[in-house]
């Protein structure tokens, strides 16, 4: 009996679906944690006391300078050596979220720093407190500058989840490779994986485009 792609796909569908969900789950966790940590990290980089700024700077520069795969291997095998036994899934989220937060912190810092000093001065002059200046004056202007690079980072994170196949996390790529190992339908199954990733990332960039339009009225 001849093998058809549809037949093989149906056979592998449960594993593929599981991989798809895992990819989405890890990506969402990493992006949400990275973004939240990035807002805090960015604030510390701009307004933190000097020692805190210095530590944040080291964190951001070190993490951005290390390949994601190395971070993943370190967090999976390295943390186990020092007695932290975490699952491959957790190790992957830790590594990717660490990387993501470093990028988001830097994006956030850049966005705040690029707002003209006159904006803060005008906000001070009408009597706004630090928190009010940030919420009503700086953040809305920073948002527009954050969206494009933040979406880029998010897309990179979705792609970065494929590296977790190396430590045995069953995400789309590993599920695809396992299917191919059984049926040798290399082109068909890799093409399917590509389609998954494309749909995910294209949706992300559409979300980005929406927010860019939403903040597009802010002009100088």
């Amino acid at each position: 009996m001849e093998r058809t792609f549809l037949g093989e796909f149906l056979k592998a569908r449960e594993r593929l679906f599981e991989g798809f969900l895992t990819t989405i789950e890890i990506s969402s966790l990493v992006i949400v944690i990275g973004l939240a940590a990035g807002v805090i990290g960015g604030l510390l980089l701009v307004y933190g006391p000097k020692p805190v700024r210095f530590l944040m700077r080291v964190y951001v520069d070190v993490l951005r300078g290390i390949p994601i795969l190395v971070l993943i291997l370190f967090s999976y095998y390295g943390l186990a050596l020092i007695g932290l036994n975490i699952s491959a899934f957790t190790a992957g989220v830790v590594a990717l979220a660490g990387f993501c937060s470093a990028h988001m912190s830097e994006t956030f810092r850049g966005a705040i720093d690029s707002i003209p000093a006159g904006q803060t001065e005008a906000a001070k002059a009408i009597g706004l407190t630090f928190r009010q200046r940030f919420v009503y004056v700086l953040l809305p202007q920073a948002a527009r500058r954050i969206v494009p690079p933040a979406i880029n980072t998010a897309v990179e994170m979705v792609k970065g989840t494929t590296l977790l196949s190396v430590i045995g996390v069953l995400e789309i790529l590993l599920a695809t490779q396992q299917a191919i190992a059984r049926n040798y339908m290399v082109i068909e199954f890799y093409a399917t994986a590509m389609a998954f990733y494309f749909v995910l990332n294209f949706s992300l960039s559409r979300v980005g485009a929406y927010f860019e339009r939403r903040f597009g009225f802010i002009k100088y």
Binding site: P116, G118, Q119, E121, A122, A123, K124, A125, I126, G127, L128, T129, F130, Q132, Y136, V137, P140, Q141, F215, F217, I218, K219, Y220
Partner: protein, 275 residues
């Protein structure tokens, strides 16, 4: 000693509103203010003039602590701005107290600094709602009133990028005045404007001066200074060299520095004392 607040200001015509004593300020090793003493009474329009680098803008920015200063004191309405004496040491006051002080001192900037993500009306409303705690509707009607006063009733729902420089600066003035400050600081507010837009901004400032608003103005518009200021202060290298009533000061400058400074304007606009 400052006047007791219970005394009616009408009974006391020359009520001191701002008192600066021995204000010193350095940027690194460069001393930009070397002991500024200045008293501004209520309703006065004080013009700070001088060459660039003389310290006039820096002093203006010290008044609402956009610039910190190392020595001396500035009090507005008897309240020392920015610093408090605690057991003999000079300490910065808390962020909240400083914000409250700043709310009573308006400022208009050379580069307008309107908030680009808000309409003209929203720019004026922000301080009213967030600092003064007004309801939005009330703030909106006050904003509309002031935008009308500066001739921008029809532009209130425009964003800054849709307005000319002169219009943006008038919104900025409305934003400062609407807070009902005790005094307003003007930092070279016409320097960034095209010549044909300068007069619309100066016109608004003249009206404001006539209404009795206390103003401290850094300006190179000597004709405006001569006609509107009640008191002119000439700064040179971080010191007050000469001060007085504008016509008298411009006619008979007693220092070579001021004579030289005014001479530069005479070349451009003719004799300031006679025109």
């Amino acid at each position: 000693m400052s006047a007791s607040p219970s005394v009616s200001p009408r009974a006391e015509p020359a009520r001191e509103l701002l008192v600066a004593r021995g204000v010193h300020k350095s940027f690194g090793d460069t001393k930009v203010l070397k002991g500024i003493d200045l008293t501004v009474t209520e309703g006065e329009v004080v013009a700070l003039i001088g060459a660039s680098g003389s310290g006039k803008t820096t002093f203006l920015r010290c008044i609402n602590l956009l610039e910190e200063f190392e020595q001396g004191s500035i009090t507005v309405d008897g309240d020392p701005v920015g610093y408090a004496d605690r057991n003999g040491t000079r300490r910065r006051i808390s962020e909240t107290r400083l914000a409250a002080q700043r709310a009573r001192i308006g400022m208009v900037f050379q580069s307008f600094n309107l908030f680009p993500h808000m309409t003209a009306a929203e720019n004026v409303m922000l301080g009213l709602v967030k600092v003064k705690g007004m309801a939005k509707a009330e703030a909106r009607s006050i904003a509309e009133h002031w935008l009308d006063r500066v001739g921008l009733a029809e532009r209130r729902d425009h964003h800054p990028f849709q307005l000319s420089g002169g219009q943006q600066q008038r919104v900025a003035i409305a934003r400062a005045v609407a807070m009902e400050p005790r005094l307003i600081l003007f930092d070279e507010v016409t320097s960034a404007l095209d010549p044909e837009l300068v007069s619309e901004v100066l016109g608004v400032m003249k009206d404001l001066a006539k209404s009795g608003m206390t103003m401290i103005v850094v300006s190179h518009e000597m004709l405006f200074v001569r006609d509107v200021a009640t008191h002119v202060v000439f700064l040179d290298s971080g010191r007050i060299v000469e001060e007085g009533e504008p016509h008298a000061l411009f006619r008979n400058p007693s220092s070579d520095r001021l004579r030289g400074f005014l001479g530069r304007f005479t070349d451009i606009i003719g004799d300031i004392t006679t025109r």
